[in-house]
Symmetry: D5
Subunit: 91 residues, 10 copies
């Protein structure tokens, strides 16, 4: 099942530039793993914002939540999830 | 996978009382079938409104859409769907 | 450039079932052409609604508007368009 | 009477990891008591968020408030409550 | 249990002045009965609108819904219900 | 003239438990005075929130503002005021 | 006591141009009376809209409602009322 | 003074194709006059919608309103106006 | 040209009571100057809030912005501006 | 392709007046470069706010994002982007 997932990340001001840089590297690495597993299928940036919208695939909302929560930046992400149904033209 | 589904039904004024009555009977009958199949698990009324909130179970959003679209009143229902993940306390 | 386009179609009650059926066939045919041209890349259904969300590609917003306006159901569609930027992970 | 209760918990950054861990254990323990009393009937996680939606039963809004306020994380919870009426199909 | 109930009534243009007048008399009569039963405790008008806010008392949301649905104008009322808990200062 | 007044109080984290306790006692004392004067007529708690809704009586919005501003917690209260007109059924 | 009152008037399509014209004359006449009584103190047009915002004075919300309801176009007006308190700089 | 003006036009279903076509020609003609006068400076289409956003110049909101109200489609336009101040970089 | 201007002031917790008091005196003094110049014509308090709504007059939005920005509390004010057109009844 | 871009900048309280001043100079310098390149075409101030709305031109949303992200104040800007299509009257 596919989901449209939108999130915006706000790292706290108290985080050092080094910590932030390291976190971003870890985020990228984990995202790459999720892509290889087929969980994260596409990712776009919302222009002008520190926000992305992505196309995810998971068995259900529980598996999707676990994938999202495995992202190192998850504690600082504001996430919204929209379930998608297959369109008749694509069946 | 479970979904929280909210809908409010507004039959058009042009529908006769007989047609509306027949439609409601058909709706009830189809809802009962969906309950027996385990697709529709609980249904509550929002007090003061012609609206309900229900707990549904389906393999994915496509199967859920097909179940909702099988309701005779579907053309006059305003529906919103919220995907639910299993809470760790219930795993 | 890619766009996320969401629309919900509400045909007027005054339209006959035949007219509606013919319009839907024409809509499907035009959508297929837009897919073959690469303008319409993916289409999902929002569960429980007469609404879709789609991934479109066009040179710019003007070309996108012309593609949307070429859909036979366009006069009855409520449309919203979100521009997408390429995510660094996909460059 | 049943209520649909939605809450999102945001522990302050100033809380140590130990305090947060202890609070979560206490929360889980109190939630278990409320389940055994029949006050908390079901709990789901909103995917991608530190939020839950639950089905609660209480005599009235006052008893429900007291149950919610007995949760150790209550001071950091943003709560919304929706009263539910019995649906005729379930009477 | 007390509820704050807000509603705005919009009679359809197709209703004759006589029908509307008769409906309003019936509404007033039923409201008076609900007052005598203690279900409807106070009623205020929202200035400038065909809307009222009222203080209602019922055992639960189901009983409240049945009281609201017994109002002759219920089919044309847009209703919202807010559950109220007893304030500690009033216990 | 009556007003429906809704407020939610958020004491700052920097306030000590003692200060908060003292403030709450002072708040209760002032609220009691306002009740005796007939300015504060009823108070309900919004279930699950640190918020209340109350029925107030004052000559006008200026007198109401002065009463609200006399509450010791006023600097930390988010307030909204709704003017109420007498309903014809209560004249 | 002063109130800021905003309203937008939408006459139904079924009203003839003559009826609409007559109604507007009556509206203007009644507004002039309310100005002479001191109830309607100022009136502005929201640019681009069939909407106005006005400064009204009335003893309380009940008197204000009666003044608004005395306007011939009242049945077709969408009204919102905001109570105003005297600013300390103007006392 | 410049204004950002957004409007969406919805011609009623009861209008014949001929009337609509004639109205659109008149609209285009009047818009051209407003461009030549310097009142209408730029016009963009919101992609996917029967809506435009435009840059207008007028002495004040009254003159702007008169210009907008002179458009033949004004009775069917939903308009919102945003006043613009000169940016220091452009002074 | 007249504008309806609404603002709410939130001084930071880190500001000392002395600084806040001094700022308020300066604010009052500057507001008085703006009144004498005819820029600030009326000011009302929104009951229950640290917010005001005022009637301002300025040649255009740029002059209005400069007047608002000259208020000593401007850095801590959340402002919204609504342009007003002259109503035909007041021409 | 043109975009309407709205942003509001909120520098943190912890930034010194010197740092803020330097950042603003750098912002102005970078904005001037973007104007010379033809990326930033017009800029207006929203009266009463630390916000601007601008007309930008870029090949696509990715190029627009890169231009916005090149502004020194970008980390403290809340940005929203609206794609614009060419209006038939301007083709």
């Amino acid at each position: 099942m596919e989901f449209l997932v939108r999130f915006e990340t706000t790292l706290p001001d108290s985080m050092s530039a080094d910590q932030a840089q390291q976190l971003k590297s870890q985020e990228r690495a984990r995202a790459m793993e999720l892509r290889q597993e087929g969980t994260l299928k596409r990712l776009w940036r919302i222009p002008g914002r520190r926000a992305v919208v992505g196309l995810w695939e998971a068995d259900d909302a529980t598996e999707l939540h676990d994938a999202l929560a495995s992202l190192p930046q998850f504690p600082w992400m504001e996430v919204s999830v929209e379930p998608l149904a297959t369109h008749p033209q694509e069946r």
